[in-house]
């Protein structure tokens, strides 16, 4: 995973200036948020489902070594190949090797965060192999050299006239309509040829079942199924945390995921495959890429429970203002704020755990009950140890000392009141006063009133 190129406050400032982006985002996330709330209210056992999801994931992480070996054996038994990749480079090399072995000049891809994480497309391109994104939104971004700003709705920051103009320049010369149906038809015509010609498909997976070696992709468009069924060779890159122990566990997650992500009772396409049949080839790449390091942290490892539903993005008051690009990572929003710093090292993303007002809305909606605010606090402490400025440390230590005794605190109250006008005028409090008035500290603190009464 690449570290964010700039700190969150700097990137957020730029993104916030884009009023169109904020309006688009707000409208889109409001819609999904309301749909989600509606379909979740229908289920009387939602809380039990969440608890089941959490418990299954906790068990998977506690016995990950066993489940991985069980999964590997099951994939072998079903006629598939299993590869182990310590990092993104190794994973990319494996995919490239498979594609080259079959003489593929192009691979068709299922929307996959994991392959974005390892920058697979760039690695394939370096070897002369074109990776074609077939998810509608991913295709849009790929054609424009843009990158996703939402886990589930990657092009949430783009509107349809922008997309029409892009298609006119690229895959559908002369297209005049920006009707979503016409845009989809243009993409369909373009993609069909590639689906039929492709020798190699590449996917991630939402789940891998240890018991049976089954892989699962949940999607809306059906383009993923084209990639997993039409080409004779399929390579699936799977983060090692994506396992579930048993086939029956899918019952829990296939209820939790669509309701949390798109606000649907069931997603349109759920593809499951186990091994390979005659004349076909399946390669599964099991990817670590920092995950075992996350696993070693008893608090931070909760981030590995994530099933990438993006419900936390849609309710986050920070994400819905700044959008995903401000997070500088393929994993934006609250989950990104706890996952990215752990994957790239806290010193390389120290501002991300602070990109939250700790309002707790993310924890409330998380289908597997990741206590994101607690992990944020845990990572903030790590970020302070790794990166806090001397000035900040001194100020926080001085504040703690002020609070350590009644007399010191009372003195600070008096000095604060005296210094406030000057501090305001001098611009020292600009971070606050730039957009907000600062309440004048009253002459009489409560404790003085209490003593005097």
């Amino acid at each position: 995973v690449r570290a964010p190129p700039e700190s969150f406050p700097v990137a957020a400032r730029r993104e916030l200036a884009d009023i169109q982006l904020r309006t688009n985002l707000r409208r889109a996330t409001d819609t999904i948020r309301d749909k989600r709330a509606h379909v979740i209210a229908e289920l009387p056992d939602w809380e039990e489902l969440r608890e089941a999801g959490r418990a299954i994931k906790a068990d998977v992480l506690a016995r990950l070594d066993e489940y991985l070996l069980e999964f590997e054996a099951a994939v072998h038994a079903a006629g598939g190949h299993v590869h182990w990749a310590r990092n993104g480079a190794e994973a990319c090399a494996i995919v490239t090797k498979v594609a080259r072995a079959h003489g593929a000049a192009e691979v068709v891809k299922v929307k996959s965060l994991t392959t974005d994480e390892i920058e697979l497309n760039a690695a394939l391109a370096a070897d002369g192999i074109r990776a074609l994104e077939t998810d509608f939104a991913e295709l849009i971004l790929q054609l424009d050299g843009d990158w996703p700003s939402h886990i589930l709705v990657p092009a949430i920051h783009r509107n349809r006239s922008e997309i029409r103009d892009l298609f006119a320049r690229t895959i559908a010369p002369g297209i005049a309509s920006d009707d979503p149906r016409d845009l989809a038809e243009a993409a369909r015509l373009y993609l069909r040829e590639h689906f039929l010609a492709a020798k190699v498909g590449v996917s991630g997976a939402n789940f891998g079942v240890a018991e049976t070696g089954t892989l699962v992709v949940v999607e809306s468009e059906g383009n993923g199924r084209m990639c997993t069924t039409l080409p004779p060779v399929l390579v699936t890159v799977l983060g090692i945390e994506k396992l579930v122990p048993n086939f029956a566990d899918l019952e829990v997650f296939l209820q939790l995921l669509p309701r949390s992500s798109t606000g649907e009772r069931m997603n349109p396409y759920t593809s499951l495959w186990t091994g390979a049949s005659e004349g076909q080839e399946l390669h599964v790449v099991l990817l670590d890429n920092g995950r075992t390091r996350v696993l070693a942290d008893p608090v931070g490892r909760d981030a590995l429970h994530c099933i990438r539903c993006s419900a936390c993005l849609n309710v986050c008051p920070v994400y819905t203002r700044t959008g995903g690009h401000a997070y500088g990572s393929v994993y934006p929003g609250p989950i990104g704020a706890i996952l990215t710093p752990q994957l790239v090292g806290i010193e390389n993303a120290a501002s991300l755990p602070f990109a939250s007002s700790l309002c707790g809305a993310c924890y409330e909606v998380c289908p597997v009950k990741i206590d994101i605010p607690s992990v944020l606090l845990h990572l903030r402490a790590a970020a302070v140890r790794a990166k806090a400025s001397r000035i900040e440390r001194l100020a926080m230590r001085a504040a703690a000392r002020t609070f350590s005794g009644r007399r010191r605190f009372m003195l600070a109250q008096r000095l604060g009141r005296l210094a406030q006008p000057l501090a305001t005028r001098s611009g020292l409090l600009r971070a606050w006063t730039g957009t907000r008035e600062l309440k004048r500290i009253p002459r009489q603190p409560f404790r003085n009133w209490w003593t005097d009464r």
Binding site: F8, P9, A12, R13, L16, R22, P317, V318, R321, T322, P353, F354, A355, S356, S357, L358, C359, G360, A361, Y363, E364, S374, L377, R380, A381, A382, A383, V384, A388, M396, R397, A399, A400, T402, F403, S404, G405, R406, F409, Q413, G416, A431, W432, G434, T435, R436, E437, L438, K439, I441, P442, Q444, P445, F446, R447, W449, W450
Partner: protein, 231 residues
């Protein structure tokens, strides 16, 4: 009942009117209020800013200061949330923690009072602060109390449950994002016909009040305790 008041550092310094109102309400209901003089800050700022060691020291200090008290009340859901729900994660565990309440939950859930005999003939919108909803979980206690205030006209706040953007040091470290959140909160408040916007936390009122007054709004921020104390 004898009730110890934890004014909180923000309440003591910036919102003494809310702490005074808390005293007024409780005394009117016949309770004895005491104010342990050694109190300062619960440590939440340090905890939330990545300084757990300093926070733990302040947490232990809070426990020492209030250990002898039968009941503790604070006019802040956020500080109560830090004390009751987060102290244990700092390794500070004490039976006291279960005796610390935010004002509205103390009144409604513990003392079983929903009418404090207040009169406040104004249109009031209520902003449920994030920590009151999702950390301290005061439920509808504040609304129960507000609905019994004579003359008060309750106006619904759109997107009420969305954060105002304060978030402690977040408001400074991520001032632009915090301000964008605040701007939306202020527009929601302006959409109502409210004269007052009430909340349980001085910190959020500092943010909302600061935004409202910068934009020239006539809506006044007010702490719930002040409404309950009015007659």
């Amino acid at each position: 009942v004898r009730i110890a008041l934890f004014a909180t550092c923000v309440g003591d310094t910036l919102f003494p009117e809310a702490a005074r109102a808390t005293v007024t309400v409780l005394e009117r209901l016949g309770h004895e209020v005491v104010f342990p003089q050694e109190q300062t800050c619960c440590g939440q700022m340090h905890l939330n800013s990545g300084y757990p060691d300093e926070a733990a020291r302040l947490a232990r200090r809070f426990v020492d200061t209030f250990a002898h008290c039968e009941l503790v009340v604070a006019p802040s859901s956020s500080c109560v949330g830090a004390i009751r729900e987060l102290y244990p994660r700092l390794g500070v565990v004490d039976p006291l923690l279960h005796r610390v309440f935010e004002l509205s939950e103390l009144l409604v859930h513990r003392l079983r009072i929903d009418d404090v005999g207040a009169t406040f003939p104004h249109r009031v919108a209520y902003h449920p602060t994030c920590h009151s909803l999702r950390v301290t979980r005061v439920g509808d206690a504040p609304l129960t109390l507000l609905h019994r205030v004579r003359g008060l006209e309750f106006v619904e706040l759109p997107r009420a449950q969305e954060c105002c953007g304060f978030g402690g040091t977040f408001s400074l470290k991520n001032a632009d994002t915090s301000s964008a959140m605040l701007a939306d909160k202020c527009s929601s408040i302006e959409e109502t016909s409210a004269e007052f916007c009430a909340a349980l936390d001085g910190s959020c009122l500092l943010q909302i009040g600061g935004g409202l007054s910068r934009s020239g709004s006539r809506v006044q921020p007010i702490h719930l305790a002040q409404i309950l104390a009015a007659r």
